[in-house]
């Protein structure tokens, strides 16, 4: 029985050489992460100058393709591209041909006709950025695909943690809330593993992905020993009657909401936004000196500058996933 082979590599056609993309944290090595964070630090110091614009990506075209609403991600990608002197073009699904039923493949090919250097895409479906990477010659940056990945969010969170707490190795972060439906959590779990951060997932049983190989608990006290409590957004649509992930939003807040009583002095608090104040996070916690939430937003700009720079010039990012997609 042991010798059953899966359809093996010997049956696959050779993969085409891959372009650099940033599709998933799973494609990155620790070296990739350190290089990206280092690049972001360099950009951060450049932003302290009076003239904040760098000529680095002059003449390059960055297309932002957003199929979901977004404030911080879309604005920070656009500003990141502009700070690097790239031309930018932002396409939102509302008011575009997507409204008329155009498929992702056709939209991607249409935009590819302008020869963009980078396509930044957010899409409600897992694997949409991979499809764009297959169908165009652009470098693709995943700005969130369904419940799958949000790699630049994880990178900006690492950047923030490093900025505030110094060494990442050995930190303990508790991620609290609706982990099951969170692309941020999926990217964070992989990013934390890469840099040696100990991670605990905390939330109601039905909102924890039981098959994910990470420490998990449904007891809110599991956050007590963590250096950082990372609070996830509670999505109202998950809480509709009949879904029964939890009996009610009110009961969720009572048992898993992050209140001042549940945070030690000095324990840092993060949130990827947008927040539901008074649901998953008490406003007093969100606005406390130990909250890193605004710093996360600020880190977003330099980390996205680094991501754009890196796919165009840096190391081998995203090779693995695309190679896998291309043999398919």
């Amino acid at each position: 029985m042991r010798n059953i082979r899966l359809v093996g590599d010997e049956l696959r056609p050779p993969a085409r050489p891959a372009r650099r993309h940033l599709l998933s944290i799973a494609d990155l090595t620790r070296d990739d992460v350190e290089r990206l964070l280092g690049t972001a630090r360099t950009f951060a110091s450049s932003l302290e100058r009076e003239v904040k614009k760098l000529p680095t990506l002059k003449g390059r075209l960055v297309v932002n393709l957003f199929y979901e609403s977004s404030t911080r991600t879309s604005s920070s990608f656009e500003l990141a591209a502009k700070r690097l002197s790239a031309d930018t073009l932002t396409v939102k699904s509302i008011g575009s041909s997507v409204d008329k039923g155009e498929s992702l493949k056709d939209t991607a090919r249409t935009l590819a006709a302008y020869d963009p250097d980078v396509i930044v895409i957010r899409h409600p479906q897992i694997g949409a950025p991979h499809l764009v990477a297959r169908e165009t010659n652009a470098h693709v940056v995943n700005a969130g695909d369904g419940k799958h990945q949000h790699p630049t969010q994880a990178l900006l969170d690492l950047y923030t943690l490093q900025d505030v707490l110094g060494a990442l190795d050995g930190l303990h972060v508790a991620i609290v809330g609706d982990v099951l439906h969170s692309r941020v959590a999926r990217s964070l779990v992989q990013a934390f593993a890469l840099v040696g951060i100990h991670c605990t997932l905390v939330g109601p049983p039905a909102l924890l992905p039981r098959d994910l190989d990470v420490e998990q608990s449904s007891d809110i006290d599991a956050t007590r020993d963590a250096d950082v409590v990372y609070v996830l957004r509670m999505q109202h649509e998950r809480m509709q009657a009949g879904e029964n992930y939890v009996p009610s939003l009110r009961e969720y807040t009572a048992r898993w909401g992050i209140t001042p009583q549940r945070v030690r002095p000095g324990q840092k608090v993060m949130h990827p936004g947008p927040m539901n104040r008074g649901v998953e996070i008490d406003p007093r916690v969100a606005d406390s000196p130990d909250s890193l939430i605004e710093r996360q937003v600020r880190s977003g700009l330099v980390v996205r500058m680094a991501a754009l720079y890196d796919v165009l010039t840096g190391g081998p990012v995203g090779v693995r996933a695309l190679a896998a997609a291309e043999v398919a």
Binding site: M1, N3, L11, R186, L212
Partner: protein, 432 residues
């Protein structure tokens, strides 16, 4: 019950083939002579009778295959498959007979629809086709179809494949009533309140990639329910496309208790696991989903020991533009008729996991027995239903190489061991 267009009957001699018919107990190097579509003689150095002679030295001659689970997409989606193209694909895959599922548009739930399909098959079908009819009207899971009339019009069995019969009470009534027709029920076992629209097996891969998960219990709980109902009513039933080890265990226990339950498994569930989903290829998206390696091994074991009696392709053609989308937006289903034997030969027989004779039996006599069809056999006097296989040949799976109208195969770009060299169905050479 099999409908097929009229074709010129073959006069041919296969010279020196390895003739392997497990059910007849034959495994020998022989000549086989077909006179006017009927196997006339088996022996050494047979006279050719001026027939065409096929040099079958180093080739394998076996009973042609029977696929109990095919989607011909007709009526309604003839852009994806027709009776002509689907049966041509079957011929290319070594099949002499296929069973077509009723989840078409409109659903095959009336004698009128069924009758028109049978007539069409008599004009167009390259190999024998039998049609299943729906268990419930419109497959809506509310009212039984007129099973008596449908059986008289030629329905070989009843199935709501594609969707489960969610109500236990309705399934009970269906078992009771189907018994009066002598036709089995073929069940797509899925408890919708557990599968919850899930697209990928509930395991590490779905958890990591963020897919809505369809757990094994979403299948096995329904398998247990239907086996309990079948035991209570003392009626037979057939379980479609099993995917989970828990379902296999339930089937094994029920059969030991004497329940007349049969089951089928697909090539993809025998070869792939949910790890294949990592490349986000919509051509590995199927229902039920690919599961863990422990599930796959349980399916292989059950196939080997006969708990699972049939291999079914669940051939599910889809238009290219419908699969050319992100995984989550793609429809379920993959094609399989033209690759089933080569992929199982490559992945199970060559590595020594499954004996060749077992594979041949589960692709031919097994499914024929379940649905009461005459078993394709290599014996003097039998109608010629034969597949000639070149075990040393290769099959290159390419998008342009299919006779099916659709190319949503999970094997695109692969090269497989063995090749179907010729198919004889109901006395006629339908593929070579």
């Amino acid at each position: 019950m099999l409908a097929q267009r009229h074709q010129a009957q073959a006069n041919v001699v296969f010279r020196g083939a390895r003739v392997l018919d497990p059910a007849e107990g034959i495994d020998a190097r022989l000549d086989v002579r077909i006179d006017n579509g009927v196997i006339a003689a088996l022996g050494e150095r047979l006279d050719t009778n001026e027939h065409r002679v096929v040099d079958a030295d180093a080739l394998l001659l076996a009973p042609a295959f029977v696929d109990p689970h095919v989607h011909l997409r007709t009526p309604g989606r003839e852009d994806e498959e027709t009776i002509a193209s689907g049966t041509a694909a079957a011929a290319a895959g070594g099949y002499c007979a296929i069973l077509a599922m009723p989840n078409t548009d409109p659903v095959v739930d009336s004698a009128a629809t069924l009758g028109s399909l049978v007539e069409r098959a008599q004009q167009d079908a390259e190999v024998g086709v039998a049609f299943l009819a729906a268990i419930t009207r419109g497959q809506a899971g509310e009212e039984l179809t007129e099973m008596g009339e449908l059986a008289e019009a030629g329905a070989i069995a009843f199935s709501d494949d594609g969707v489960p019969v969610a109500s236990a009470g309705l399934m009970h009534r269906a078992l009771q009533y189907a018994s009066t027709t002598g036709r089995p029920l073929a069940l797509h076992c899925e408890e919708p309140s557990l599968s919850r629209g899930g697209q990928v097996h509930a395991g590490a891969v779905a958890a990591e990639l963020g897919f809505a998960a369809y757990p094994s219990i979403g299948e096995s709980v329904m398998v247990e329910r239907d086996l309990a109902l079948a035991a209570y009513e003392e009626q037979p039933l057939h379980l479609l496309h099993l995917s989970a080890a828990e379902s296999v265990a339930a089937l094994r226990r029920a059969r030991e208790r004497g329940v007349r339950a049969s089951a089928e498994v697909t090539p993809h569930h025998l070869v792939l696991t949910d790890e294949a989903v990592r490349n986000l290829d919509p051509n590995v998206k199927m229902n039920p989903p690919l599961r863990a390696d422990s599930d796959r091994l349980a399916l292989v074991d059950a196939l080997r020991d006969g708990t699972i009696e049939a291999i079914a392709t669940d051939h599910a053609p889809h238009a290219r533009h419908e699969k050319d989308v992100p995984f989550e937006a793609a429809p379920f289903g993959v094609t399989g008729l033209e690759t089933a034997f080569p992929v199982l030969y490559s992945q199970l027989v060559e590595p020594g996991v499954l004996p060749l004779a077992t594979l041949l039996e589960r692709m031919s006599a097994g499914p024929a027995r379940i649905f009461g069809l005459e078993r394709p056999r290599i014996a003097a006097g039998a109608k010629a239903n034969l597949v000639l296989i070149d075990p040393k040949g290769v099959t290159h799976v390419t998008e342009s190489g299919f006779r099916s109208r659709s190319a949503n195969s999970w094997l695109l770009g692969r090269t497989l061991s063995s090749r179907i060299a010729m198919t004889v169905a109901n006395g006629a050479v339908v593929h070579e």
